[in-house]
């Protein structure tokens, strides 16, 4: 069971499913091999649906969207650097803008600033 779940959520399986979907959407009208996948996909799809409804293994708190936060002093930079032509990918290669929780390996860095030493108090009077 767990193996089946892992296999279906494996990136390769996701890729395969998206190809099959493309085939379905743009495929010929005379039927074709995709019709034979109706059964296997229906069966595994039903299994997955029940599994997730009962076990809820995919449920997490979406803290990245639901935590109160404030963005200030936003600076944006967008500069055209080139063009791509004739690609068959519907998205930019390596797209990660839709997975904000995934870190970028060595591209992710953190600096911790030490607090400034306390300023000597000014303008305080005893009276």
């Amino acid at each position: 069971m767990y193996l089946m779940h892992s296999l279906l959520t494996h990136p390769f399986a996701v890729q395969l499913l998206s190809y099959l979907q493309d085939d379905y959407m743009y495929g010929s009208e005379e039927g074709g091999p995709w019709l034979w996948l109706l059964g296997p996909l229906g069966g595994t799809g039903f299994f997955m649906w029940v599994f997730l409804r009962y076990r809820n293994t995919d449920k997490r708190h979406a803290f990245e969207r639901e935590t109160a936060n404030e963005v200030l002093d936003l600076k944006v930079y967008d500069q055209k650097t080139g063009e791509v032509t004739g690609t068959t990918d519907a998205h930019i290669r390596g797209r990660n803008s839709n997975s904000p929780r995934t870190r970028l390996g060595s591209g992710s860095t953190v600096t911790i600033l030490a607090p400034e030493p306390p300023q000597p108090s000014q303008g305080q009077s005893e009276d």
């Binding site: 019709l35 998205h91 607090p115």
Partner: protein, 385 residues
């Protein structure tokens, strides 16, 4: 590492924690009101809200360095969980295991003794969010949740299902505020043309796009991220546990958290914190970076083909850490391999759970769907060809 500590201790010694009106120690939480009630004189009161009392509501942008509340201090491995309390009423020595309870009844005079001092084993937090969902309500929610998932549920689970065994548990978390700055760089693409070409029987879609270098830089003030401070609960892996269920019932209205008072815990259990600030700093940065990426995502909608971020840099100017307990009603069931939780948020009533599956029923039905689908698909293919 820690630059400033905010003292949140109550100043009370361990032992008798009395009703301010009549002096009785028979005090507990009344979930309907979220207040403490004295069972002797019926006086009701609440501890002060921690945010205002200890200044945790001050502007996140003013935070510098690592500020921690005193209940969020480092855990000393040598600290004993078992504490001996001296009953101030009769003088008896009463032992309490603080990893399980923060109150004990004196076996001689029947007074309730409370652990009030913040110990270095992580058992006493700075504040807590009292239960406001009563046990009956939690039972009803758990029952309804499971009832909708009976057909494919494991028969042993259905047979042994006893929602009245639900436990009210105070789960330990760190409440984190962060004053930070984020810098992100990457590439984005905007589609300029799409066209299809035929080769033989199949068609392929091609895309042309403009490529942009993208950078975003902003200050990010994050308020009240909840970080699991129990090592066991922080380990979320669906193949080994169902801790994601406890995680999924967030958020909690943590602004309503009150100062710690052991009487809030009476009748409930609590899970002891075993992670400290040093052990969770990397995870805190990870959370803040995720929020930064999510916010940056709102500014790149013109890139229809998406953005590939290549670098993300977080500058942490200041963080504030407060240890709190949040209320969770938990029903747990061990299926021989995994402990399945059904959990109810003790404040909002949000319910989530894991129900063990009867694979002996699910697999044959999924297989029948597969076979029927294949026959129908083959039939269609035959007639369309």
């Amino acid at each position: 590492m820690v630059d400033h500590i905010v003292d949140t201790s109550s100043g009370k010694a361990d032992g008798l924690d009395k009703c301010p009106k009549c002096g009785s120690t028979e005090v507990s939480l009344r979930p309907q009101t979220g207040m403490l009630i004295c069972h002797f004189c019926r006086h009701e009161w609440a501890e002060a809200a921690i945010e205002q009392t200890f200044g945790f509501d001050s502007a996140v942008g003013d935070l510098r360095g690592t500020v921690i509340a005193s209940g969020a201090g480092a855990i000393q491995e040598s600290a004993e969980d078992v504490l001996t309390l001296k009953c101030q009423a009769c003088g008896a020595a009463v032992v309490v295991n603080t990893s399980e309870a923060l109150q004990a009844r004196c076996h001689w005079c029947r007074q309730t003794l409370s652990v009030n001092e913040q110990m270095s084993n992580g058992a006493v937090p700075d504040g807590l969010l009292p239960f406001s969902i009563a046990k009956d309500d939690a039972i009803a929610r758990i029952t309804a949740f499971v009832k909708r998932r009976r057909f494919f549920a494991h028969p042993k689970f259905v047979r042994e299902f006893a929602p009245s065994e639900v436990l009210g548990v105070y789960m330990p978390y760190f409440l984190l505020d962060a004053n930070s700055h984020a810098d992100l760089t990457g590439f984005g693409e905007i589609q300029t043309r799409s066209y299809t070409r035929k080769s033989g029987d199949s068609e392929t879609t091609y895309y042309d796009a403009d490529v942009y270098q993208v950078a975003r830089s902003f200050d990010l003030h994050v308020d009240d991220v909840l970080l699991e401070s129990s090592g066991e609960r922080a380990d979320i892996d669906w193949q080994r546990n169902t801790n994601n269920i406890i995680n999924a019932i967030q958020p909690f209205d943590v602004k309503a958290a009150v100062a710690y008072n052991a009487n809030y815990l009476r009748g409930f259990t609590s899970e002891k914190r075993d992670l400290d600030v040093a052990g969770l700093t990397a995870e805190a940065h990870n959370r803040v970076l995720s929020i930064a990426r999510s916010r940056a995502g709102e500014t790149i909608s013109k890139y229809g083909r998406g953005v590939r971020w290549e670098t993300e840099h977080l500058t942490v100017k200041g963080t504030r850490w407060v240890a709190i307990y949040v209320p969770v009603w938990v029903y747990s069931y061990f299926d021989g391999r995994l402990t399945h939780f059904v959990a109810v948020n003790g404040r909002t009533g949000e319910t989530m759970g894991s129900v063990p599956i009867r694979y002996g029923r699910l697999i044959p039905i999924a297989a029948v769907i597969g076979i029927v689908g294949t026959v129908v698909g083959g039939f269609l293919d035959f007639f369309m060809a």
